[in-house]
Point group: C2
Chain length 333, copies 2
């Protein structure tokens, strides 16, 4: 049997714990450590935190350096921040420790446009250390970038491309429902937008990845965000939303060339959406439509993509890569 | 601007000509030659053969060696044979000439099970010459292997997987309609099966690629083939099929583990199919369904996949690779 991949969980919030739980179930992984700076978590067993019946024998530590020294991991699952700029020091520390990094940092999924200098610096450091850094997840990471790109492969020409993600947020976690502004008045909703806490992070990154893959130079990237207002009372396990309140959010990103929207990404997540689905629509030769009825569950999919990307990241050449640079991501045993 | 990819078309049948036509339309390619052994084709202009309004200035030659010497191509589009064994000498000649090969040879798409020795030998020769060899197309190459595998990436667990391709054959080329047995009596149909000319080639290869990707050891691979009988008269531009005749073919491949069909590939192509579509159904965590309503047109898709794979093949490490080893295939400009 091939050597098991030694993995460290870096960031023990809900996403990190679901990643660690999944990796721990896989024969091919051995979870050798967990890192978090939250004093409430330090010292606790990762298995207990992740809701497993038994302990994993892995205590959360805030001393990443000592952990890496002791365990020499192949890969770190980095699940702390959405902002590449804010996560930069963590990422460079991980790279300096000589471990491959698979991260759910949304802006890392395609960081070259927003933070070209930081991206170049991280790439340089990763090459120097001989490790790979890649940002992934279900969105960004798959549904609105890698998947649409992968569908263009059967096309002789692509004129324009649209990816749509419609999600009934009712079955999602409370933090997700709060994040999309469910139950807020229009004024509160606007305030959350202004504070920057409501936005689904990653739409411009997905747009840029698609454009780069297709070899298109965008003149402009636009992004709009607005509430989906409840038309009737809708409830989830956690919240009830009444008419006049936001049921959730609609966010649209567009990549413009010559005044035309060549790439459109449309994300809607709200309580009571009549149907959840993910879809890609390509106008080209041929026209092409691909649909995932019911859509992909965000939390399940993000943990899956993160864990499934690890063997590819470990095998890939050193540097900062994006999902379009890696071979097909497969659910591995 | 990056250097254009110099490409040679090897095999000037219908598929080869559609590949050459597409590559010639792309800025990123320069068609520097064309090879065929058919004396009817030698000396003719590739553009004329491909139905373009103007000549390409590329005459078909039967002297591949001299052509390669003269033009030093980056990549060859190899579109001659379905059988890896029969194509082997052509492929080794191409590799020896130091060119990357993108081939529509169906059995090359995953040759390790059917022809392990020949596959190992081709891999060795390709590494020796520093070139990549890969078999692709729409099916095998995408719809029943790469695409299903790519959809597993969002899954935490896969219990079983089914890919379905239902095609109304009416709009396809006459050779395709003939190949699927349309208009044949049951006896004639059986005779075509016995002669081996009717079979869609590549189902076991697709099965094996999926199993290898998922890390599954199959106990057995089964394949059935039977006619889809016409229930009423159906017509295409070329053929009329009456009740009692075959309208086309249904072919099912299964990958078995412990008596269970863990992978099922179902291919149906017949005149008058009520709906064309491609679909992937995954039973796992989560269950997942992905559908391409209308399906992908085989000839258009095969030319697209072949041309779109070229930049990946050129950039890939040397050796015999399969589609699951390459980064996402994108419609490039």
């Amino acid at each position: 049997m091939a050597e098991r991949m030694r993995a460290v969980q870096y960031g023990c919030g809900p996403i990190g714990l679901s990643v660690a739980r999944l990796a721990a179930e896989r024969e091919s992984f051995e979870i050798v450590g967990a890192v978090d700076i939250d004093p409430e978590l330090v010292g606790k067993d990762l298995g207990t935190l992740a809701g497993r019946e038994s302990e994993m024998g892995v205590a959360v530590t805030d001393d990443a350096e000592a952990l890496f020294e002791r365990t020499d991991p192949h890969v770190v699952f980095h699940t702390t921040l959405s902002s590449f700029r804010r996560a930069f020091d963590q990422l460079t520390d991980l790279v300096a420790a000589g471990v491959n990094v698979v991260s759910t940092c949304e802006e890392l999924s395609f960081p070259y446009s927003r933070e070209p200098e930081l991206a170049a610096e991280l790439d340089r450091l990763a090459r120097e250390s001989g490790v790979t850094v890649v940002g992934t997840g279900i969105n960004p990471g798959f549904l609105m970038d890698l998947w649409p790109l992968s569908m263009t492969g059967v096309c002789q020409r692509v004129k324009s491309l649209r990816a749509v993600r419609i999600q009934d947020a009712s079955p999602r976690r409370l933090p997700f429902q709060q994040k999309i502004g469910a139950g807020r008045t229009p004024e509160e909703f606007q305030q959350l937008i202004d504070e920057g806490t409501l936005r689904h992070v990653g739409l411009p990154e997905s747009l840029r990845m698609i454009a780069a893959g297709l070899g298109w130079e965008l003149d402009e990237v636009t992004e709009t965000i607005e509430p989906v207002m409840a038309e009737q009372e809708v409830s989830s396990e956690f919240l009830t939303v009444t008419p006049g309140q936001a049921a959730g959010v609609k966010q649209v990103g567009q990549g413009m060339i010559g005044g035309q929207a060549r790439i459109t990404l449309e994300f809607q997540a709200y309580l009571g959406a009549p149907e959840s689905y993910d879809a890609v629509y390509i106008s080209g030769t041929p026209d092409l439509e691909a649909v995932i009825p019911g859509g992909v569950h965000g939390d399940i999919g993000t943990a899956a993509m993160t864990v499934n990307t690890a063997p590819r990241a470990i095998a890939a050449p050193a540097g900062l890569l994006t999902m379009k640079d890696l071979p097909v991501i497969i659910c591995s045993p």
